[in-house]
Symmetry: D2
């Protein structure tokens, strides 16, 4: 197993020209599995269909590349929102069969695992069954990657949300599972699988309520376009081939640029005056950061929770500036809402780096 | 002349409680002049009246403090938009009569000058007369401060824009003076007054067109609520009393956190790991940054000019993250659109600092 | 008692020039009470301060007209949102002392009553105490008008909502009283006072839940800018002077233009081809209409509940077209959200008409 | 030639289930040509990709139905914006080979013609060449339908706009062809083809400037997703088979419900109390309405041109109420911006009706 990570740009959510170009050197039959982690642009509101459009377009592109079989071996994780200093783009993770390739010199290298659950029943979404399925899917992805729990660096989880539009019967607005609640449940499930939340102790009344409970190596997304849980798991695996490694850090709040710099430094990147000296060594950068429940930051009021612009957009745009000023790049996968993925207002960052000579 | 700079918070645009509290120690009769530089929250769109509401509320507060006479000695500069990691707040600049106060030890200290032009006629707005009036008003503010052109650190200029709503006759949409155009003309006028743009060479066809022309020490705002040019000029004046100084720096683009750090360092602030060690020494921080005409940043596409969110909001939010991660504070006055105030995509930052023992 | 109703336009929310002009003929000492019912323009979102700005401006205008005493005799009801074919404007209701004026020829004429409750305590808002206070305030307004319950045509109720920004302690998002919930409670209170909802049967679990319960002569608004319940009550009072009368009708849904036409016809207006022949006889027109919980209309899906635009804006704009096409005027007070003020998806309309010779 | 017109609903822009169901009875080989006229939901702003998503999905659906050959015989006209009382839906126009079918009893019946121009060169867009190509494409559609100019009831024209995102070189914002300008040029071209604008007299300086020039039977749309002009032309053709006819009317402004009623009445629909008695007879209803340049309506100010919501959304929502209250249906194709398609502020409406026994 050798994992390659490439970034590709999109001129619009339906654009797959650069994806196709980046995939061109890879023979489809040698791709054991593939994952797309994509930021699409759109208004990121209930009537934004850029994610569905991007998903359909990417599926057609992979089908053109390797037929339905390649699509069946692929995982699609699309997230909307490219505000501020962010470029709409995608990462493609390619796991190639490289029998006989030597293990990474450092002993460990980037490995990936993918898994997809059965379809959730409408009444399961947002409930304990949902959390258990999320946990089982993360565990399946660990098995797929062939890694231990300790080797896991990041579980990227997509989890379904009960869609207003898809509901065939009028949904009581009050009991509707929100996107935030779906993420909460998915994160708790991931935390259980990763051993960060005690399995037997979790009760439904903790969901999106007891925020002391949180995973430490999960980024969770939700979407009305899927009815199952999907996981892309990234780990540093003993004996894997390839020269990439992944490193995870924790941000105390959205202004915690120091945590980003420390994570990069621990990954082996050199920084001068707070800026990465060799940005090309950073193959991928992912952040997920939240805002405290009262919308305050470093003790002062912000408008993040009290403006016409959804709070996630404020967060993504502000964080895009911070990481952009450190990396000198606008190609970072930034997401907001860290419910049960970090303490309230905190965040998680991860970088995949290649050694540079 | 001793200038004091204080920050005050607002719970909403009409809130003046903290302003009144911060002004309480100052006897109105000893205030020679006063200026408010305020960030109000609102949607920052054509139907946002938070600025007018804030202006009316602040005027009533100053009237309650020192009667119409204090209002007459005051300058009001309100700017909308507190996206991202920004706190809605204001700076109050107070110039006190301090006869006999010793000059600053370093020889120079912060001085302020204020000026206001006559009302512009509707046909003047956006034309050469507008630029000339802006230049003359900056020059009047220099005289008011008693400073030379070289001593000027920053001219904050507010300039009128032809309002759609105030037009008594239907305005041809095509010939309407936009907010951006009004800023452009105000900036060119400021550049002339500050000796950065050659007075005799400017022609109307350069307005918002020849972007090689730009001031270097001006931040320009526009507003439909005023019909004249207003200036708050800040300088380091030889022989002034007080211990504050102001320092200006130039950003090559919105991700240029290095420029912010250099400006702070030149002002005497100590930074460790890219973060200011003693943020309380930074009495005020002001930034104005733009985005290149094609919306690209560091060579890559952004959605700053191609989303449903106005580009200035993207910029303010992203920059709020950068400066917030450096200062550890959300109290920074951040504005976007640097037409003729910096090269395209560039910016300007300024800090007022107090010595710390 | 003679009630006069006048409409005045606003160039922006802070504009009171036309209000002052319309009030000019009225000697302040002869104004027994006064009420303003105003539609302000703004984004109608959490960071829209147009209502507060309008309220402050109108208060200053009334103070300029008749001092604090006139302000104390005045009721202010401001509602945001002028989408579609709607003009930002206000109605001013003036109750003049006209001792000896003959009673209306028809026996009944428009009367007005105003009342304001004590400040609600934070823990009361949204609870049974809130409903009881709303009921008591409507009853106080009935006494103020000197009318029986049967004479009441319309109770316009403003009710407080727990503001996120005003909260001094961090508010649990989940337990926050929403604007919709505050309206629900206010409407139930009004329904009790008007005898349309059985007083002893109401329980808190019905609030915004049992939508079979609803008032029939109430329009309820909420606002974070007030902490008490305010009521403007309109009635056709036996023995009142003046020539105005008010008529109320019920709309089955937002497309029910027939109900608007029937209400106008019952008020004595002549219609031809579905259009009012003498629109000047319609002194005031007020509508409040909702959308069904599933967002469907006449059996089909709409985007009213599933777009980035708040549902109330969709409703106001659509209804402005209907009533505008009937009245030939854009000066109608249109509001959305009829929770407990009509059956789900239904609405209420009211017109005040003057006899025309 | 027999034209059938069917409406189909969409649960979201990518949903083609009802389209497929409505097409099921039609054998692909008997479909001579097909056109889709669709309203997609989305934010209708620059970052709304619902139209592109809908277009891709519909193309895949037609390909599944009749292969690439059916797609090649099809015309796709997608328009975004379903605000207010509007259902996201599409009309499918099917022209079937019905050799030997008797001509319509009334002598004339609905006929359709489709045409598509060559790709426009970037420098042609917005210029005279663009207008000429639009005219030629409307003429080609007339030939395709086999109708005379007098038989034409409506030319639905889609015209390209220079996209910011697709520009390979940075586009000067000032010289960018806006959507409004592209529509203006397309409308002038259609007006020439239909004999409503004098061909030899048109000059480029009239484009979006001399609004006295306008077509009378055109609805024009623009889109960045196409680079050619496409036309769907509808006519009442002498000797055509089928029982549908189309009728066009003119609205003086967006509140002109009378014009809608008159058009329906002329088409043979019976109205009572301003409402259509047999709405099922109205097979299709299309409206395009504008707002005057000063944003005033019936002499009063509106916020249509001075709010954060784009003016087209205000117009569509208001008009959806009017037509919905007349038809009792939310399935109407409503569009805004009638530049050169009607006098400023005016509009056009069209209905396709079937005889009812």
């Amino acid at each position: 197993m050798t994992v390659t990570v490439l970034a590709y740009d999109t001129a619009h959510p339906g654009d797959t020209a650069d994806l196709a170009a980046k995939l061109a050197p890879f023979a489809p039959e040698r791709i054991r599995k593939l994952a797309l982690l994509v930021k699409t642009e759109g208004n990121a509101d209930v009537n934004d269909y850029s994610r569905e459009y991007g998903l359909l377009s990417a599926t057609l592109a992979l089908e053109a590349k390797g037929g339905p079989a390649l699509v069946a071996r692929s995982t699609f994780l699309f997230s909307t929102g490219c505000e501020g200093a962010m470029t709409p783009f995608g990462y493609v993770f390619i796991d190639q069969a490289d029998e006989g390739a030597p293990a990474a010199p450092g002993g460990r290298a980037l490995a990936m695992g993918c898994a997809r659950s059965r379809s959730l029943l409408p009444h399961e979404i947002g409930r304990m069954a949902h959390a258990e399925i999320a946990a089982a899917t993360v565990e399946a992805a660990m098995r797929d990657a062939g890694v231990t729990r300790d080797e896991v660096a990041l579980a990227i989880v997509k989890t379904p949300v009960q869609s207003f539009q898809k509901a065939t019967v009028p949904v009581d607005q009050g009991r509707r599972v929100t996107s935030g609640h779906a993420k909460a449940v998915g994160a708790l499930g991931a935390g259980i699988a990763l051993g960060e939340i005690e399995r037997g102790r979790l009760v439904e009344s903790d969901f999106d309520a007891d925020h002391a409970l949180h995973a430490r190596r999960a980024m969770v997304f939700s979407g009305a376009e899927l009815d199952c849980v999907e996981v892309l798991l990234l780990a540093n695996k003993q004996g894997a081939a390839g020269d990439l490694t992944i490193h995870t850090g924790f941000m105390t709040d959205m202004l915690d640029g120091g945590a980003i710099r420390r994570t990069l430094a621990e990954a082996g990147c050199r920084l001068e005056d707070g800026v990465v000296v060799d940005p090309a060594a950073v193959v991928a950068m992912l952040l997920k950061v939240g805002i405290s429940p009262d919308g305050r930051l470093r003790g002062r009021r912000t408008t993040i929770r009290s403006s016409h612009i959804d709070m996630d957009k404020h967060v993504r745009a502000a964080v895009s500036g911070i990481v952009g000023s450190i990396l000198g790049s606008t190609r970072t996968f930034i997401s907001a809402n860290t419910v049960h993925q970090a303490p309230p207002g905190g965040g998680i960052c991860a970088c995949i780096v290649a050694p540079r000579t």
